[in-house]
């Protein structure tokens, strides 16, 4: 296996763009990532482009805005882990020596309101089970019951992330909210309220990965420590399914693999981007990642542990709560944040001396992708 560097990253500002096509958003992210990497378009040897809602040939259409060079372009759909999955395909292609320079793209343009989660069987969609906030609500109810976490803890995740998002120029929402505003917002699926659920959105993010020996950029070096993707295993089901087995959850399995591959544990992290599609997801998955013991995330939030100035900052970018969630772009946006942090380019939200960072996302299916980056 060869060592793989992240040569460059780029994003479009996430938001709602009725006047832009996904090609426009993708183009912007790719041009930014190429510029950041120092590579020319003609040096890119393969493209992996993630998208869930725009049909066929998405990566081809974005690439065609820049040039047609005959390289393989693969369109990747892996729900909310799509961007991280495209990153991983680049990583494994370079690590195995198939290519020296690859481009990962994640792009999405989706309607507002409740997401139409198409990953469920038809009859379960008819019964109304495929409502994302409700499924996270079911998990949260159990967490509150078993570990005593409170709805105020969940609100604190939103408050923290929206505060960080004010400092991120790529975030869709750049306004702080208070605990009271979160707890007074409209109920979506009990006990989750509007401001505890991330907003969908339009946007794109991209990354250029290369063989260490091919690196051109003179920016601070960022290496891939681990790029892990898992699906669920039998008997780890927290909801419907078997209750005989108590196997680890997908986040726990992916974290174990990522820690082993990178040689870094949760205590080595200078910052972590945790998938906060609902505020409760950060709380529950932060614990599964081993950032603290089960039931401890809420009390540590109260003490400011996961704030920008805390001992383990989580979602320094503002997370999905601030950025918005263009599904397939999210994983690469998380990676862009950690790359910028490790290079010391985050300005007012910079974590001083950050050396190791981790990104975590979950996707329908279900899957989990974890990326660990080091400098």
């Amino acid at each position: 296996m060869r060592e793989v560097a992240v040569a460059g990253v780029g994003m479009s500002k996430f938001g709602r763009y009725r006047d832009k096509e996904y090609q426009d958003l993708g183009f912007e992210a790719v041009v930014n990532a190429l510029g950041d990497s120092g590579f020319e378009w003609k040096e890119i040897q393969a493209v992996f482009c993630s998208n869930a809602y725009s049909g066929m040939g998405v990566g081809h259409n974005i690439a065609a805005r820049i040039g047609k060079s005959g390289i393989p372009i693969v369109n990747v759909e892996n729900a909310c882990s799509g961007g991280a999955s495209a990153f991983r395909l680049c990583y494994q292609s370079v690590a195995m020596g198939l290519y020296d320079v690859c481009l990962a793209i994640g792009v999405e343009k989706i309607p507002g309101g409740l997401l139409d989660d198409t990953s469920w069987p038809e009859h379960e969609r008819d019964m109304g089970f495929n409502v994302q906030p409700a499924n996270y609500a079911l998990e949260l109810q159990r967490h509150m019951y078993e570990y005593g976490s409170t709805i105020e803890h969940v609100a604190l995740v939103t408050v923290k992330n929206r505060k960080n998002g004010v400092l991120n120029p790529y975030a869709g929402f750049r306004k702080e909210v208070t605990v009271e505003e979160v707890l007074d917002s409209r109920m979506i699926a009990t006990p989750l309220r509007l401001l505890m659920c991330c907003a969908n959105g339009d946007g794109a993010a991209a990354a250029v990965l290369c063989n260490l020996k091919e690196l051109k950029s003179k920016r601070r070096l960022v290496m891939v420590g681990a790029s892990v993707l898992v699906s669920e295993t039998y008997g780890n089901v927290k909801g419907a399914g078997s209750i005989r087995y108590k196997n680890p959850d997908r986040t726990e399995i992916a974290a174990e693999q990522a820690y082993e591959t990178s040689g870094c544990g949760p205590k080595d992290m200078d910052l972590v981007e945790v998938y906060d599609t609902m505020a409760s997801a950060e709380l529950i998955n932060g614990e599964k990642l081993g950032l603290c013991a089960k039931g401890e995330y809420g009390p540590l939030l109260e003490r400011g542990t996961f704030d920008l100035g805390g001992s383990l900052p989580v979602n320094t970018s503002g997370g999905l709560m601030s950025r918005r969630h263009p599904l397939s772009a999210t994983g690469l946006a998380q990676i862009a944040e950690v790359v910028w942090q490790l290079r010391g380019e985050c300005g007012v939200r910079q974590i001083k001396g950050a050396k190791v960072g981790m990104c975590h996302c979950l996707g329908a299916g279900g899957n989990c992708a974890i990326t660990i980056l080091k400098r």
Binding site: P111, G113, L114, L115, D116, P121, E122, H123, E124, R125, D126, M127, G128, F129, N130, V131, P133, A134, N135, A137, L138, E139, Q141, R142, Y145, R186, M187, I188, A189, T190, L192, Y234, G235, V237, G239, A240, G241, S242, I243, R244
Partner: protein, 168 residues
């Protein structure tokens, strides 16, 4: 489109013969509205109103795992020797949520609605809608029982039914 009737439900499950047979029967019968399961094969629906409906599951003869809906191959050990069974009607709420906003597609019932996970004594949890209760009454550990109830009416006026659980 979902729920346009028996034939579509049958196409979903690949049970084309059953679907065609049902359609044939329907054409012969009178104009009464039919009760159609949300998916073929999920339920044992009794002939008489006095018998209780049941969830149709199956059990792996190799490892003992139970599946609802029934599966062709055991998801745990990949065993292919599975025996059909029906599940009892009683269970306990494992978790619950009440949805306050209409889903983006498919669901055509009333909003708000409550659903969640119910643990059955056979050793599995299933996902289900809740009925006959105030959302505020739902709690983890509550005893519930299964009923077959209307989900919505399809385009032909047939009543599409599914399993729901209610406090007991």
């Amino acid at each position: 489109m979902a729920n346009s009737g028996v034939s579509n439900n049958a196409e979903r499950t690949g049970e084309k013969n059953v679907g065609l047979a049902s359609r044939g029967m329907r054409m012969k019968e009178d104009q009464r509205k039919k009760r159609i399961p949300v998916k073929q094969g999920l339920y044992r629906i009794p002939e008489s109103e006095n018998d209780a409906p049941a969830l149709v599951a199956n059990r792996c003869r190799s490892c003992g795992e139970i599946f609802f809906p029934a599966r062709q191959i055991c998801q745990n050990c990949q065993g292919q020797d599975l025996e059909d069974m029906t599940l009892g009607r009683s269970g306990v709420i494992y978790s619950f949520a009440t949805v306050m906003q209409r889903p983006a597609s498919h669901y055509r019932g009333p909003v708000p609605y409550s659903f969640g996970w119910v643990e059955l004594p056979e050793g599995l949890r299933i996902e289900t809608l809740f009925t006959d209760c105030n959302p505020d009454d739902l709690e983890i550990g509550l005893n519930v029982e299964m009923v077959m109830e209307k989900l919505h009416e399809d385009e032909e006026g047939n009543e599409v039914v599914c399993h729901k659980f209610r406090p007991c």
